[in-house]
C-alpha cells in the first residue's frame, strides 16, 4: 500500500482510526472523536446514530466495514461469506518493523477482522444483492491475496445467483507485503468482473475515503455505476508522492470526489443519508434491464454459470 501512510499524516486532515504503530488508542476514542474537518469533538454514540457524518459540518467520517454493512443493508439480512479465509505470509516478508506475519496478527487483534474485506449477501430495502466492503482499519484496506480471493468468490456467487454486486472501496492500494501476489489481485478481480458483465449483471461501486492505487486502478472503477461519498479522496498515486515527484503544488480539491465528477470519472456524488435510496434506484434499473437471456457477446448464460461454478472455490454461507 504505497499511498496508505500519507493519509494518516497529510495536512492533519486524516485521523488514524486505528493506528498501526502498536499503541492502543481505543479507549479515549470510544467516547469522543474529533471531526477531521471542523475539529469539533463529537460524542461517538451520537456519531454512530448519524451514520458517522459530522452533525456540525457534514463531513463524512470513515466507517468500518461492518458499520457500513449495518448502515446499508436491511437489519439482519447480511449473511457473511468466506469468513474463514485468512491471510498468511507467502513471501516470508520482513520489513523495518518486523515480519509481516507478526503485523498480521497484531492487526487482526486490533481491528477485530481477519482481513481487509468483508463479503456476503444482503438485502437493501428488500432487494437481494452481493456486497463486498473494504475495511480501511485493516492495514489500510490494502489488497492482498485474501482480499482478492474473497472478492472474486463474491463476484462469482453474484454470477451464479444472478444478483447485483455492490463493492464499497477504500484502500491505500495493493498490499506490498505479499508482493506480486497482491498486484495480481488487480487482474484477478477485474477478470471476474469481465465475466459478471458478460453475464449481464451489474456492478455498482461505492468509493469512499480514501481510495487509491491498485484498488482504484482495478475492480473499483470497472463498474456500471460509480458513486462516491462527498469529499472522499480518490486517485491513482497518492498526493504526497505526486507533490514530491512533480514539485508542483496540488490544485485545491485535488482528487476529491468533486474533482473526479468534474473530470468525468464517476457518475454520482451521494451524501451518506441518501445512499440507500440511490442504490435501490440503481438496483431496480439494472435488474429491470437485465432481461436478455444472452449477454451482448453471444455467450450462453448457462455455460457461463457453469464456468463460474466450476471456478468458484466452494459453497457459500
Amino acid at each position: 500500500m504505497p499511498a496508505m501512510r500519507e493519509f494518516f499524516h497529510r495536512r492533519g486532515k486524516f485521523r488514524p482510526q486505528a493506528a498501526d504503530d502498536g499503541a492502543d488508542h481505543q479507549i479515549p476514542e470510544d467516547l469522543w472523536v474529533k471531526c477531521p474537518s471542523c475539529g469539533d469533538l463529537l460524542y461517538s454514540k451520537e456519531l454512530d446514530h448519524n451514520a458517522h457524518v459530522c452533525p456540525k459540518c457534514g463531513h463524512h467520517l470513515r466507517m468500518r466495514a461492518r458499520q457500513r454493512i449495518a448502515h446499508l443493508a436491511d437489519a439482519g439480512s447480511f449473511r457473511e461469506w468466506d469468513a474463514g479465509l485468512r491471510p498468511h505470509d507467502p513471501l516470508g516478508f520482513v520489513d523495518g518493523t518486523g515480519p509481516y506475519a507478526a503485523k498480521l496478527e497484531a492487526t487482526q487483534r486490533k481491528s477485530g477482522e481477519p482481513e481487509a474485506l468483508v463479503s456476503g449477501q444482503a438485502t437493501i430495502d428488500g432487494r437481494p444483492l452481493t456486497i463486498a466492503v473494504a475495511d480501511f482499519d485493516f492495514l489500510g484496506a490494502s489488497m492482498g491475496s485474501v482480499f482478492g480471493e474473497k472478492l472474486v468468490r463474491a463476484i462469482e456467487r453474484a454470477g451464479e445467483r444472478r444478483l447485483p454486486l455492490l463493492t464499497v472501496s477504500a484502500s491505500g492500494g495493493a498490499r506490498m507485503h505479499e508482493g506480486m501476489l497482491s498486484l495480481m489481485q488487480m487482474a484477478k478481480t477485474v477478470a471476474a468482473l469481465d465475466r459478471l458483465g458478460r453475464a449481464g449483471l451489474p456492478h455498482l461501486a461505492l468509493l469512499t475515503d480514501p481510495c487509491y492505487g491498485g484498488v482504484t486502478a482495478s475492480y473499483a472503477t470497472v463498474a456500471d455505476a460509480i458513486v462516491a461519498e462527498p469529499g472522499a479522496l480518490i486517485g491513482f498515486a497518492g498526493p504526497r508522492v505526486i507533490e514530491q515527484i512533480t514539485k508542483q503544488k496540488l490544485p485545491e480539491g485535488f482528487q476529491t470526489a468533486e474533482f473526479l465528477i468534474e473530470h468525468g470519472m464517476i457518475d454520482r456524488i451521494c451524501p451518506r443519508d441518501e445512499l440507500r435510496g440511490l442504490l435501490v434506484s440503481l438496483v431496480d434499473h439494472y435488474t429491470r434491464g437485465n432481461r436478455r437471456p444472452e449477454p451482448p457477446d453471444e455467450r450462453p448464460a448457462a455455460a457461463l454459470t457453469a464456468v463460474l461454478v466450476g471456478a468458484g472455490a466452494g459453497a457459500a454461507g
Binding site: 513471501l91 506480486m180 477478470a191 472503477t221 491513482f236 508522492v241
Partner: protein, 296 residues
C-alpha cells in the same frame, strides 16, 4: 555492478533491468518482426510515446504489439517520459486491443516501465480508470495474447498490458508491486534500504515463476545489455512457441475457441494468490507449475 558467476541478487537484477543499454520494446520489434506499422493516438486526447503500439508481422502472421518504450538517450527519454505511460497510453492500448479483436490479431505485449506516471494531469484524466479499463479489455480479449516482461515491470502501469494468456519474463527482468525504493521508503522509512526490500519482495523471474505469477523464464545467456541480440532471439523463440501453442489450441477461425480461451485465461489468473482456509488450515497457493506450495 558486475555480473558474477553466481546468480545476481534481486537488487543487482533491478539494476540490470534498468540498464540504459538494455534493449527496449522497439529493439525487439525491429529484430523479431517485419513491416511494423506504428499506430498512434487514443482518439480522445493525445498520443503517448511512452506506450507504443501497432501492427507487425511475426512469422508471416500479423500481430498487434503493445509495449512500454523507454528512450535510448536523455532527449528521447524525456519525449517518452522514461517509459511511464499516461492515461492516453493506456487508452491507446485499449483501442488497439479492440482492433486486435475485430480483426483476429493475436496480441503481443512488451512490458518495460518504472510504472504509470504519477502526475497532476494523469490524475485529472483518470490514470486509475485508464489502467482498469485496459485490464478489463485484456481479461476478456477474444484473441490469444502473450506478454513478456523485458525489463522493468513496475506495478499497475506494467500489469495494465500484462493480463495475457502467457506471461513470460526475461531472466534479469524484475516485476514488482512497487519499486524497491518506494517500498523501502514506506516500510523501512529509508529508501536506501531498497536492496533489502528488493530481496524480500520476490521480484525476480525465478521467484515469480515459483509463485505462479509468470509462466516461463526466458534465459539471458549474458545480461541483455551486453548481448542484446541473444536476449531478443531467446525471447523470439519463446514467443513463437507460446503463440504457436495458443493458436493451435484456440484457432482464430473457430468461434467456440474464443470462449475456451477466455475460460482458460480466467482460470489462470483466478488461481493466483495465497491464503489459509481456517476450516482446514490449508493454503491455496497457485498450483499451475506444481511448485510454490507451502504450509503455514
Amino acid at each position: 555492478m558486475t555480473e558474477t558467476a553466481a546468480s545476481p541478487t534481486a537488487w543487482e537484477r533491478v539494476k540490470l533491468a534498468r540498464h540504459p543499454e538494455r534493449p527496449h520494446a522497439l529493439d525487439y520489434l525491429a529484430e523479431l518482426t517485419t513491416d511494423f506499422v506504428e499506430l498512434h493516438g487514443d482518439r480522445a486526447f493525445g498520443d503517448d510515446r511512452a506506450l507504443v503500439g501497432g501492427l507487425a508481422c511475426l512469422d508471416g502472421r500479423t500481430v498487434m504489439v503493445l509495449g512500454h518504450q523507454k528512450g535510448e538517450n536523455t532527449k528521447e527519454n524525456i519525449a517518452r517520459n522514461f517509459g511511464m505511460a499516461r492515461p492516453e497510453g493506456y487508452r491507446k492500448a485499449e483501442r488497439l486491443l479492440r482492433q486486435a479483436e475485430k480483426f483476429g490479431f493475436p496480441v503481443v505485449t512488451l512490458i518495460d516501465t518504472p510504472g504509470a506516471e504519477p502526475g497532476i494531469g494523469s490524475e485529472e484524466r483518470g490514470q486509475a480508470t485508464a489502467i482498469a479499463e485496459s485490464l478489463l479489455r485484456m481479461a476478456g480479449l477474444a484473441v490469444p495474447s502473450v506478454a513478456v516482461v523485458i525489463g522493468e515491470g513496475g506495478s499497475g502501469g506494467a500489469l495494465a498490458i500484462g493480463v495475457a494468456d502467457r506471461v513470460l519474463m526475461l531472466e534479469n527482468a524484475v516485476y514488482a508491486v512497487a519499486s524497491p525504493e518506494a517500498c523501502a521508503a514506506i516500510l523501512w522509512k529509508d529508501a536506501a534500504r531498497a536492496p533489502e526490500a528488493a530481496e524480500t519482495m520476490r521480484i525476480t523471474a525465478a521467484e515469480l515463476h515459483r509463485f505462479g505469477v509468470i509462466d516461463e523464464v526466458v534465459p539471458e545467456p549474458a545480461p541483455a545489455h551486453e548481448q542484446p541480440k541473444a536476449a531478443i532471439r531467446a525471447t523470439g523463440d519463446a514467443l513463437r512457441r507460446h503463440l504457436g501453442a495458443l493458436l493451435a489450441a484456440y484457432p482464430p477461425d473457430d468461434p467456440a475457441a474464443v470462449e475456451r480461451l477466455r475460460d482458460a485465461r480466467y482460470a489462470k489468473f483466478r488461481r493466483i494468490g495465497s491464503w489459509r482456509d481456517a476450516g482446514e488450515v490449508r493454503l491455496g497457493l497457485p498450483s499451475q507449475n506444481g511448485s510454490g506450495s507451502a504450509t503455514g
